[in-house]
Subunit: 460 residues, 2 copies
Amino acid sequence: MDHVFETETYLEKIEQLIQTKQYAALRDLFLPMEPADIAALLEECGEETMPLLYRLLPKELAAEVFVELESDSQEMLINGFSNTELREVLDELYLDDAVDIVEEMPASVVIRILDKAAPDMRKSINEMLKYPEDSAGSIMNVEYLSLKADMTVEDAFKRIRRIGSDMETINILYVTDATRRLVGVLTVRDLLLAETEDLIGDLMDTNVVSVTTMTDKEDVAQAMSKYDFLAMPVVDQENRLLGIVTVDDAMDVMEEEATEDIEKMAAITPTDKPYLKTSAFETFKARIPWLLLLMVSATFTGLIITSFENSLAVVPVLTAYIPMLMDTGGNCGSQASVTVIRALSLDEVDFTDLLAVIWKEIRVAVLCGVVLAAANFAKMMLVDRMLLGNISLSPLIAGVVCMTLVCAVAVAKFVGCTLPLLAKKIGLDPAVMASPFITTIVDALSLLIYFQFAIHLLGI
Amino acid sequence: MDHVFETETYLEKIEQLIQTKQYAALRDLFLPMEPADIAALLEECGEETMPLLYRLLPKELAAEVFVELESDSQEMLINGFSNTELREVLDELYLDDAVDIVEEMPASVVIRILDKAAPDMRKSINEMLKYPEDSAGSIMNVEYLSLKADMTVEDAFKRIRRIGSDMETINILYVTDATRRLVGVLTVRDLLLAETEDLIGDLMDTNVVSVTTMTDKEDVAQAMSKYDFLAMPVVDQENRLLGIVTVDDAMDVMEEEATEDIEKMAAITPTDKPYLKTSAFETFKARIPWLLLLMVSATFTGLIITSFENSLAVVPVLTAYIPMLMDTGGNCGSQASVTVIRALSLDEVDFTDLLAVIWKEIRVAVLCGVVLAAANFAKMMLVDRMLLGNISLSPLIAGVVCMTLVCAVAVAKFVGCTLPLLAKKIGLDPAVMASPFITTIVDALSLLIYFQFAIHLLGI
């Protein structure tokens, strides 16, 4: 990407400047960069040089960089801060960023932060910490600019000039009444295009879409993406404006939620730390419960095979097709489940679409099953029997395998598309109902079908 | 969600109003709604009533709704439009939206659109259609507000008042020189907080992060999320400003790319249509190539089993553990691959981290392998042997299964974490290297290990 710099070259330069103690040059190197890039560089420099480099940054930039650092780096820096330094950083932070940081810190650090924060910030942090982790309340910003309906455009501009520099955004302006109830919304563009004596009440749009503090943050992000909003107002039960969620936070939520869904689909307990920042033990803890659970459930398939051991001994060639049947069933099931889970997250389907979804998947299953069975029959006859000379493989046996295949595909698509919808309906997370679970169920059912066909058609 | 209305109740009301021909009431019902919600309602109403309802909307709102409709509805409406109606819609559209629409239409409709569009829009559409599908050029908006460094704040406000209403955003303002080269950026807030006689050149930030028309749109969205940008400038090789990508488009890109990654991980060819809008045949086409490919590759495992048929005949109990070994290996492999693939998309790791990733996964594999093997040994001895009375299951056989398990987990984690990184390195899409492929490789390797252990330790 143009203008987006190369970390490696910068790291070398930084090391050189540190060794030659050219601190002014170091500072000048950082000044033109984006905070996110400076944070990434500091992370790369490691624990020893990070505090030194961090202290070179001017106060405001330092706070912006601080927000972008990983939580363990933040903790390390805070532990090294003097009380004055800590207070300076806190003064520069937006409240929602301060809350994010506090949420990740151990208790001892939290106490120190709350102790050093300005009284009103301390109060607000405490209030925001009460909102549930995934709620709009927990990610909203309480520093927003609100106007009154009886203000003129000129009054509004005065207010923006007076307090606008402390607000995260002034692009979207909310209008509240005397009891802080949300009554309208307008953009800074509306103000700029209006006459100075126009009334805010005449300019504002009174149809305001809002969410409550308890709305799931994923739904907030979805709604903002759907409506192309730069900010979403957060109100309480009485429609009083409490805060706003800005689009940059919504993007972070979308990214996190997609990662979470992907991890759950692969049977991993989601973590919010970047991959290389998680210790091997943490990764192990996130993965092992599901592996154990799935291993136990996979023993059902083992039991089924054991109980048909005698049939397999009569026609041993049947064993060779077990992996193919299980894999294909598993793949079909995860295709269906993953598609439905994603459609659920994007609000494209809900439980009322159950029949439409099943009807669609059944048609897809028939198409897939027939094509797969035909291909497989041809392959078994031409490759396995003729080319590899496996003469014990009769067309009847191939028929059993292919009929099982059609049924397994149908079962897989059906289970794959219904389980996520049912999970959602009863309030479980559909993503957990993804491939590995469905694979286990589909495996067991496919094997039962296989052995039933084998026993009845082959007479064993 | 608060204030986000229920589609069902509205649909009933609409039907009632249509039957009683209360068109004015219908129009008043729509007026306060968000365009995205009106579009969703029109989609639900079906092909017959959609044109009627659409024509009730005032011109500007109609265009906003049009943009939010599915492409088949857009096509249907365009086919019913008179030339005047089509021209009216086109006049109200932002250029990037017009291009999005044109990209989805069949040739005959495209010709009609280009014919009716204003000459400068036609020219711009033609230019933008030349950019590759996934490039920044294809999603950028060429209607942006640019300023000159020698303007005063007052000049800038005049310019915003004159042309700002036709621009998609005025929140971020770019400064160009006489040759249209991008030299600075400032926000509308900077303007509002400045004095009227201040010079733009003094207020602007000259460190502008930009992308080129050829930058991958996913990278653009990632960068905007990382830097918390509301807009990203798009320049050509000579740093001349050509357009901007706005944050709402970046959010759409992020959503699409996450869906694509998820689909690829589940071995589905990505489509950009919503689930229920895709026909069964289209879904079939997106899924069958992978199923066939994976079925063929699954036959390798079948071949391995066939070639060890004699060993299985000697110790038939070995067969019962094949599904468990294969499933656990597959699950471990997809856990590792999915984690690495997601870390790759989020730019958390790259190929230079290969050794760090492998080292981490090996440690995780050892932890997981030992725990799984211990649990499995206990289960085999206590449940399978004692509880189910399967006395042919000796501790040695259980040992073979558990040793295989440890090796299979290690192989799975290793293959799962390296394949996506290698794929990325050689320019392939890492997401395609996800679970199903890795499962096939891991299955084959696990079986080979299993039979080697069995032959050498059990002496068969």
